[in-house]
Symmetry: C2
Amino acid sequence: MALRNAILATLLDGEASGYDLSKAFDASVANYWTATPQQLYKELESMESLGLITARVVEQDRKPNKRLFSLTEAGHAALHDFTTQPAKLTAIRDELLVKVRAIDAGDPAAVHQAIADRLDVARTKLARYDAMRAHLLAGRTEDDYLATSDRIGPYLTLMRGRAFEQENIAWAERTLRILEQRAAR
Amino acid sequence: MALRNAILATLLDGEASGYDLSKAFDASVANYWTATPQQLYKELESMESLGLITARVVEQDRKPNKRLFSLTEAGHAALHDFTTQPAKLTAIRDELLVKVRAIDAGDPAAVHQAIADRLDVARTKLARYDAMRAHLLAGRTEDDYLATSDRIGPYLTLMRGRAFEQENIAWAERTLRILEQRAAR
DNA sequence: ATTGGCATGTAACCAGTTACATGATTCC
DNA sequence: GGAATCATGTAACTGGTTACATGCCAAT
């Protein structure tokens, strides 16, 4: 159900193929939900059979044909209904944090490296988010954008993802410093 | 596997029952992993049969007996090994953000309420984290603690969870303000 | 020649959620 | 008298990951 709603919300941006969606939900760019291509193709089929989305086939030259999905009336209604349902607590689950928690009984150098890797990933994602932000703003100031744009959902979630990566960076930098001081004792 | 490692890391704090662990992994307090009691009892059984943990039964009066689990040598080794394995990207999956993304086609009042609910939860969690932090520091300054404590893993993950809730609060407050301004147009 | 992008899927498996079940004690 | 806490589990289901499969085109 959760993936279904994320797909419906994404299709508000306009029609998309399974492949398009698999890029949007890829863990390296996603800012509100992730999913693998396998999950998506399966879910799209079931959503189509339920009438929540419709597909049209686009023939391309030098590229495989693709099926572009878009929301139906029923899909819109289902999405609207979803926004009125109570949300449950979000579970924090982060393998890196499990490693950090275990650092005192683990391999400090390996955990140090894992944090450094996360720092790299976070910096890359932050740069991507900033590029997406500039693209959404399209030259307008934030205030102007928020006051005039007909859609603000994508901007608001992007800002949450951005803050998350900024926090990752700040935490990782500080944690690496602490570990280095301890290692130098 | 992931839950298994989280349990091993938690048992570094000392022996615990399934019930104790179910409280530690409850979504309302967890700062690095969450799990339900059902998951835990099942996983603990399998970990015991693999020799990663051992149980001792403690008889209590006016309370049911309990089984306290602790790490074995093999469990310690498995945890150490885990810290050396490459970590994969953490998936962002947040139902609230799906709602926010869909707000332009959804029920704005309901989404507003959902964000306000999240804000409450985040404030509660932050207060809890601060209490845990004070408990860990036990009167010492942070610098003193980091320099002298034999374990720092729990403190470092707690600080990440704390930053996460602070970001939740800042984002939610700002987002509510934006939505209210739009509603007042 | 090989890697990477475009485009779509099947199958087997593993992890997580929800519902159900039991029973004593303590607190309001 | 009813809800919350302590303490442990089974069973059915839903959701997510990993491995495997195909085939063309563009770029290095």
